[in-house]
């Protein structure tokens, strides 16, 4: 019997492509955001609102990740923004290779802000680095308070946590206090935004932050 020491990262192949993506975004001064949440949290609605608010200020594009259909991509396309749909055909997350291929299709000179809308899932996407600059997780008042402690990795690794469906708060048992306490314990440095994709509440603060992050990226590029 022989033992062969490998010490090989299981996600090594993914991380290699992610580093390539990251270098590419850096070279072209593109801020790339990996947007993650459970299904039905309002990722696409948030993107629609964001595009409306920033269309005059920034050049944006979207990579849409879904298991099946291009329904989300169609919604984004209506906003006049370049969009590429990735269908994972059952795979529960996007990986760096899928993003690399989709990004080649975008081929957009002057692009400043790239959103990657991940597959709706709080588990697997957290594990796969795409080469993004920032990770944003969407949570909702209707999902309940427990999601943050049940899926700690995705909340730990996010630079911003967006709480959506704030307009529905009076109709739920959701505790804002508990939410803030949980996020601050798991990820004390995360920015927290409270928004309603339906009414537009809180969108200004969120888009202001995006503008600042894009400017920061350009100034350090």
């Amino acid at each position: 019997m022989v033992q062969i020491k490998l010490e090989s990262q299981i996600l090594g192949a993914n991380d290699l492509i992610a580093r390539r993506n990251s270098a590419h975004f850096q070279e072209n001064q593109i801020l790339a955001i990996n947007l993650m949440s459970s299904p039905g949290s309002g990722k696409t609605t948030l993107l629609e609102r964001t595009i409306d608010a920033l269309a005059d200020s920034l050049k944006m594009a979207v990579i849409e990740g879904d298991l099946y259909t291009d329904q989300d991509a169609q919604r984004i396309e209506k906003k006049g923004v370049k969009v590429v749909q990735i269908n994972t055909d059952g795979t529960c997350h996007l990986d760096a290779g899928m993003v690399e291929r989709a990004f080649k299709e975008i081929a957009y000179d002057g692009l400043q802000l790239l959103f990657v809308e991940n597959v709706g899932n709080l588990v697997c996407p957290a594990e796969f680095n795409l080469g993004e600059d920032l990770r944003v997780v969407l949570a909702t008042t209707t999902e309940g308070n427990d999601k943050i402690t049940k899926y700690p990795l995705i909340f730990r690794e996010a630079q911003a946590v967006v709480l959506n469906k704030i307009d529905l708060l009076p109709y739920t048992d959701f505790s804002l206090e508990q939410f803030q306490e949980d996020v601050q314990r798991i990820n004390p440095q995360a920015r927290i935004f409270m928004i309603s994709g339906r009414t537009g509440q809180g969108i200004d603060e969120w888009t202001q932050w995006l503008l600042e992050e894009v400017r920061y990226k350009i100034s350090t590029g």
Binding site: M1, L6, P152, R156, R185
Partner: protein, 120 residues
């Protein structure tokens, strides 16, 4: 849910390692998985069972070592284990910028095998 794709990649890497080292029969694969990782040991075992059906992996076992979540506070140099409440705030100085030094592992440590078919 992504354990099947992780295990596919593990077995590809081990298979290549076995070919490179003239190993005909893999007996054991050892993984190290941090507790903050989203890969569940039970699901990895299941995936290993499903995917290791061919000649090279027949009868092989998968061993998984789990690593606790350990953080280092750069402000006061305190090292602490993160408990079930997932508090990443330094219990010594309440520092907020702690670094995770263990708990994110997801790697193949080693594998064992025989150079010939079943005979050492």
């Amino acid at each position: 849910m992504h354990e099947l794709s992780l295990m596919t990649s593990v077995l590809e890497t081990v298979r290549q390692g076995a070919l490179d080292n003239d190993i005909k029969q893999v007996k054991k694969v050892k993984l190290v998985i941090g507790k903050l990782s989203q890969a569940l040991p039970d699901s990895l075992q299941f995936a290993f069972g499903v995917l290791s059906q061919d000649e090279m992996f027949r009868g092989a076992v998968l061993e998984i070592e789990e690593k606790d979540i350990i953080c280092l506070c750069p402000d006061c140099q305190n090292q602490f284990a993160v408990q079930d409440d997932y508090s990443f705030i330094c219990p010594n100085c309440q520092g907020l910028k702690v670094e995770i030094i263990s708990g994110r592992e997801l790697y193949i440590d080693y594998f064992e095998g025989d150079l010939t078919d079943g005979t050492d």
